[in-house]
């Protein structure tokens, strides 16, 4: 019996080994296809797990392949379980990474670059021409990594703005949103006097350490207060201390005046429970469907973030919610160049950016979005998008550090959350946060 059992085990292991060898053989075959079987270069393009973006890239790929018979582009959605980043991580680990993918944030790109999983795009021939043709010199300047390379080509850039309930502001005697911290607090006090049950800003994430939430609260205000000063550069904490403390003090003042609703609320801005909200252009299709009564310049307006009282409220910076394309180091040189040539072709024509804009509602990352004739009629039909377009050059992308998640979690845990809860002063919170972040950066 024992001998039979041992024989069965060996047989099972042999079967498994055979299967594994077969799969490995297939993988090698797949990778080798890019090396010139029939001179056709095959590229796997992973689009975001979003039907509109997939549709756009399929159309672009079809158009490119018609003109370039030696390239075959397969567009497929990236796996998103449990997240798209985890899907890419698994793909790289298992040797099944695509040649090129979109939907990459600067922070994740920093992790990929630190692990040498992606290649610098500025080393490709034609990079400068691509940037010039797509009019994105200013936009992309903020994307350079600490090693002076560009690893990501931003596709879209949502220059985050604040929306204000203009109908309520008018009732309080305002014909424009406030621009400085004092003006905001004063407005808030008037709001509480007239409507004790309303709040200035409803945002449950203010008391949670959720790392990505910091982009839409802390960094919107910090970028405005510091005029776009870097937070981290390379492996060094270089944030503007004075601006940072003032930003935290503003949050503290909002909290002390009971102007913040830090509990989950359903559509608080739309229901006028809160009169200010951090807003990206992805909200407008949702409003068109669920809240058609939301009309630009009638019951809401858009503005850049408020600034400390001693900062010029004109030409203010904000946070850029932006993602882009990367090319993976695991691809062959031939595949990498073919992928780069493809995106260079896509962005050589402003009409492709227009098609993207119409299909996805995400503003293309270009300096001339508000001035280029190609987009004029679309922006005229959608005036609420014009402010987003105008502020693309003012929008600062996320930090490029592989410890982005840890750092932003610490901003929440050590600074923002305790300040909003009234547990720390702004100065102490900033110092504690700085100490903790320096510990992570070592």
């Amino acid at each position: 019996m024992k001998k039979k059992g041992f024989t069965k085990l060996i047989a099972a292991l042999l079967v498994v080994a055979l299967i594994g060898t077969g799969c490995q053989g297939q993988n090698e075959g797949k990778n080798a296809k890019g090396d010139g079987a029939n001179n056709v270069v095959e590229i796997d393009f992973w689009a975001a797990p979003n039907p509109t973006q997939q549709s756009f890239w399929k159309k672009m790929a079809d158009g490119y392949m018609k003109e370039h018979k030696n390239v075959k582009i397969k567009v497929s959605p990236m796996p998103e379980s449990p997240s798209s980043e985890a899907g890419i991580q698994s793909a790289i680990a298992s040797g099944h990474a695509p040649v090129i993918s979109e939907n990459i944030s600067r922070g994740f790109a920093a992790q990929l670059a630190a692990s040498h999983a992606i290649v610098p795009l500025d080393e490709f021939k034609g990079f400068a021409e691509l940037i010039s043709k797509r009019q994105m010199k200013e936009t992309i300047s903020g994307w350079k990594f600490a090693d002076n390379h560009q690893y990501v080509l931003p596709i879209y850039s949502n220059a985050m703005l604040f929306a204000w309930r203009m109908d309520v502001l008018k009732e309080l005697g305002y014909d424009a949103p406030p621009k400085t911290y004092s003006e905001v607090i004063e407005l808030g006090k008037k709001l509480k006097k007239k409507y004790p049950d309303k709040f200035l800003w409803a945002r449950a994430d203010l008391v949670k350490p959720t790392w990505w939430a910091r982009w839409f609260d802390f960094f919107m205000l910090y970028n405005a207060a510091s005029n776009g000063n870097n937070f981290i550069k390379g492996n060094k904490f270089v944030a503007d201390d004075e601006a940072g403390v003032k930003t935290l003090q503003f949050f503290s003042d909002l909290s002390k005046n009971d102007l913040l609703l830090t509990r989950e609320a359903t559509d608080p801005f739309e229901n006028a429970t809160a009169i200010m909200v951090d807003l990206g252009p992805w909200t407008f299709p949702y409003w068109a469907e669920k809240f058609p009564e939301m009309e630009f310049k009638q019951n809401y307006v858009l503005s850049l973030p408020p600034v400390p009282d001693d900062v010029d409220p004109n030409n203010v910076k904000t946070f850029a919610d932006t993602k882009g394309l990367v090319i993976y180091a695991s691809a062959t040189k031939e595949q990498q160049q073919a992928a780069f040539d493809f995106i260079k072709w896509v962005y050589s024509d402003a009409n492709n950016d227009l098609a993207w804009f119409k299909q996805t509602n995400l503003p293309p990352a270009r300096d001339d979005l508000s001035t280029n004739e190609a987009f004029a009629s679309y922006l005229a039909e959608n005036p609420q998008l014009k402010q987003y377009a105008e502020n693309i050059p003012n929008a600062i992308p996320p930090m490029d550090n592989e410890k982005t998640v840890e750092i932003q979690e610490l901003i929440g845990k050590e600074a923002l959350n305790p300040v909003v809860k009234g547990q720390k002063t702004a100065d102490k919170a900033w110092e504690d946060m700085k100490k903790a972040i320096n510990g992570v950066l070592k």
């Binding site: 292991l13 079967v15 980043e85 680990a93 990929l112 959720t210 609703l261 509990r263 609320a265 429970t273």
Partner: protein, 281 residues
């Protein structure tokens, strides 16, 4: 020829387990071409980590809330269904439906029901002047999650109790009646001991479940407030997939497995002792 189940176990259990044990001793993030062996560093870091310790205690806190509620609730459901003259099957299926519901969907619904401007909270504020921060309280938030889990699993565990109830021979009840055991006495001294196999199964399943909670805290609270709903799975997810510390995340997963095993072992021993007192071996 080798057993298919053996092949399945080797491919989907043994290989991943061996790989996980290896990974736990490295600092690999699954995407870098190089990594180092770090010995026990990951395990040591996990033992001293505030968030891992929080996950350890939060699991037992959930257990204290969830296990009694779900056992009592599912037993009551089973008794009700068992006493129905007809349509038992229909009611069994009905009560089983929450088990099939998506955890994400139910969490989103609960989030809406408990939101600040929901009809429920608006009613409490206007009628009683009560402003309850359901998911912001370190006491209420875990209780709500425990209740959600109980709602989800009550129907499933009720089926296990129901099959136990149906398998108790009628002769035992007749004999007990002759001896004067009726009503509560009959329930405590006949029904409950006879349901030992069902209690054993349900308790072990419920205890094991607590080490795998992820969806509800992920959607509702993110592990807060102040780590009060921070679970093992949330910590593993954060480390492995958000911070790309795959080696460290794997070490936490292995620690979780060991703690799960040890906890279930303790419960097993207690249940077996109780069963032995009532004649079960």
């Amino acid at each position: 020829m080798a057993s298919p189940y053996l092949i399945y176990s080797i491919i989907f259990f043994l290989f991943p387990l061996c790989w996980a044990i290896y990974l736990a001793f490295t600092n690999w993030n699954l995407i870098a071409p190089d990594y180092e062996m770090v010995g026990l560093q990951n395990f040591i870091e996990a033992f001293f980590s505030k968030s891992v310790r929080a996950a350890f205690w939060v699991t037992y806190k959930f257990m204290l809330m969830f296990v009694p509620i779900v056992i009592a609730g599912s037993l009551c459901l089973a008794l009700i269904i068992h006493s129905l003259p007809k349509l038992k099957g229909l009611f069994s299926v009905g009560y089983f439906l929450p088990y099939l519901a998506s955890g994400v969907a139910s969490a989103i619904v609960v989030n809406g029901v408990l939101s600040y401007n929901s009809p429920l909270n608006t009613f409490f504020r206007h009628s009683f002047g009560l402003d309850i921060d359901w998911l912001g309280s370190p006491i209420l938030a875990p209780l709500i999650i425990a209740l959600m889990m109980a709602w989800k699993f009550m129907g499933y565990y009720a089926l296990l109790f129901l099959s136990g109830l149906e398998s108790i021979p009628k002769e035992i009840y007749e004999a007990a009646e002759i001896d004067g055991a009726v009503g509560w006495k009959r329930f405590w001294h006949v029904t409950v001991p006879m349901l030992y196999p069902s209690f054993y199964t349900v308790t072990i399943l419920a205890v094991g479940l607590m080490f795998g909670i992820f969806t509800e805290p992920y959607v509702l609270t993110g592990g807060g407030p102040d780590y009060s709903t921070h679970t093992w799975q949330l910590e593993i997810y954060n480390q492995a997939f958000e911070k790309l510390n795959a080696g460290y995340g794997t070490a936490i997963a292995i620690i979780n497995s060991v703690v799960t095993f040890a906890s279930i072992l303790v419960f097993r021993k207690v249940l077996e002792k109780w069963g032995a007192r009532h004649g079960w071996e």
